[in-house]
């Protein structure tokens, strides 16, 4: 091993970036070469000198204010939408193909085979233009979510656990089944988050409340509570989520957000009531204190004060 190599790699040794065999050889060389031993000592001293300046941790105040500023900005920021994700980027595409020729070949074969099979089926089948009827779980294969363009109506069958859903793909379709049916649940979840008709959203959120132990349902209701522009839908979601404020922190955060920011005073009052069982929680207490001090709504201010008065004093 030459001294030149050692000199070039001595810093990597000091920063523990040399491979085991190279490190061993370097140590062996340094043990016999005085000049390189001096260089190693100097490199170690350099590292220690640089370490006299320590990394300053951001202060809690700075971190908190940065988080608050970011949160405000996120309120008005849109994620790159569906179309952005589909935007054709030749650079990425070429890179993928370059690095995975096997995958590219498989995709080509699957595309070719799939295209042939679909053409064959289209020629064989007899296309129908009208609505397709399916009366139960054994009906037509459900459409994947991406094919559904909207839900027309949701009609629960009185006295049973069944529900009829009319939905649009390219054509309008209708299906019926029990609430436990996974297809029905998927359609209801879709309706709760994606539909343009607020009546349908109210119906779907209302039905989904019966399956609150499913985390996907809770997620959909939290979404509705946060982002739905119809107060009726938000109220239904809030009612459904009420019993989970104790156990699910994300539900609690969403309800706190409603209490603080919702434009509808009725919903804020309902959120206040829903949070009663967890008012001793630190985040709830902090929000109540803020509202009691300076909320523009007198009723909310008074109610917050009343709830705080029932809490034990903190040291």
């Amino acid at each position: 091993m030459k001294c030149e190599w050692v000199q070039q790699n001595i810093m990597l040794h000091v920063y523990d970036e040399l491979a085991d065999d190279a490190r061993y050889e370097l140590d062996q060389h340094v043990a016999r070469c005085e000049a390189c031993a001096a260089e190693l000592a100097a490199a170690r001293e350099f590292r220690q000198t640089m370490a006299t300046v320590t990394v300053v941790e951001p202060s809690p105040n700075l971190l908190t204010s940065s988080r608050m500023r970011l949160q405000e900005a996120l309120e008005t920021t849109q994620q790159g939408g569906f179309w952005t994700r589909l935007t054709f980027d030749p650079g990425i595409w070429l890179r993928q193909v370059r690095f995975s020729p096997a995958l590219a070949a498989v995709l080509l074969l699957v595309g070719f085979g799939g295209g042939t099979a679909v053409t064959f089926r289209v020629i064989k089948s007899n296309p129908t233009d009208g609505p397709v009827q399916s009366a139960g779980p054994t009906g037509a294969t459900p459409d994947v979510e991406a094919n559904i363009t909207g839900i027309r109506s949701i009609t629960p069958e009185p006295g049973t656990n069944r529900v009829n859903i009319k939905y649009d793909t390219v054509n309008t379709k209708e299906t019926a089944g029990a609430l436990s049916d996974i297809r029905i649940q998927q359609l209801l979840l879709f309706a709760a988050q994606n539909n343009t008709n607020s009546g349908v959203r109210v119906d779907s959120v209302d039905l989904l409340r019966q399956r609150m132990n499913d985390s996907r349902v809770r997620e959909a209701l939290v979404y509705a509570l946060r982002y739905d522009n119809n107060p009726g839908v938000r109220l239904k979601a809030l009612e459904g989520l009420g019993s989970y404020v104790k156990d699910d922190v994300r539900v609690r955060d969403a309800v706190l957000e409603t209490l603080t920011n919702d434009a509808n005073p009725g919903l804020r009052t309902e959120a206040l009531r829903v949070l009663e069982p967890v008012r001793a929680d630190a985040s709830v207490r902090a929000t109540l204190e803020r509202l009691a001090a300076k909320d523009s709504n007198k009723f909310i201010r008074d109610q917050s004060r009343a709830q705080l008065a029932q809490l034990p004093e903190l040291d």
Binding site: Q8, M11, L12, Y15, E17, A42, A43, E45, F46, R47, Q48, T49, M50, A51, T52, V53, T54, V55, V56, E57, P58, L62, L63, S65, S66, R67, R69, L70, Q71, A73, L74, T77, Q78, Q79, G80, G81, T84, R85, E219, V222, Y223, R226, R250, D253, A254
Partner: protein, 220 residues
């Protein structure tokens, strides 16, 4: 190690939820990494105000583009890549402006010295040693400012943030070998610039040890 892989699994779940539009999941991701992001930005800009701007821009960029995140690297590497790019831009602009890095501004617009951040505020601290530490810090700051933005970034990530050079390479969209060469160049320049300081750090550390021994003696 197990904790790290568990973290990654959690990250994957959160990223997928964020990609479906769940803002709460994205905020969870922010809380995992924002302290490290802010620390790096603060260290490289020397200004609370600018660090906050970089923090904000980095996470907003991540939020807008999380849909196109393809899990080719960890979320941690991805967010660091965004931050390092923003910091590199900042360093380049700063080099053009040739600002004096010794004096910076906090969020309230008040000037303060970066070196004072390194001041020893322990009880019984030795003022002489503290002054020595400040002088040393000031010279180190000036030497760091003379590096190119890329050399500075590699050195900061390696020395002050303890990252492996392979990870640093990933973050800077380059190879481990290039990161090694850059670290070599950076340390050569720094050693050259700080050659007059040999032994000063040892004096400070020696002082520290003597002070500690003294304090222990008093306690006994």
């Amino acid at each position: 190690m197990a904790g790290e892989s568990l973290n990654r699994i959690d990250d994957t779940v959160l990223v997928r939820e964020a990609q479906r539009g769940d803002r709460a999941a994205f905020e969870d991701l922010v809380r995992r990494y924002d302290q490290a992001v802010l620390r790096l930005a603060l260290r490289l800009t020397g200004s609370e105000h600018e660090a906050q701007d970089i923090y904000q821009e980095a996470f907003l960029k991540a939020y807008r583009n999380v849909g196109s995140f393809r899990f080719e690297c960890s979320f941690y590497t991805w967010i660091y890549r965004i931050v390092t790019n923003l910091c590199l831009d900042h360093l380049r602009r700063k080099q053009v402006r040739k600002e004096d890095s010794g004096v910076v501004m906090n969020a309230e617009g008040e000037e303060f010295s970066v070196i004072e951040q390194a001041a020893d505020d322990r009880p019984n601290a030795n003022p002489e040693k503290d002054l020595l530490r400040r002088e040393l810090g000031s010279q180190i700051g000036r030497a760091l400012d003379k590096l190119t933005p890329r050399e500075r970034m590699v050195f900061e990530l390696k020395h002050y943030h303890g990252l492996k050079l392979r990870t640093v390479g990933e973050m800077l969209n380059t190879t481990e070998e290039t990161a090694k060469n850059t670290l070599f160049r950076a340390t050569q320049k720094l050693r050259g610039a700080l050659s007059g300081l040999r032994g000063r750090a040892r004096d400070i550390r020696g002082g520290d040890l003597r002070d500690d021994a003294g304090r222990r003696g008093q306690a006994i």
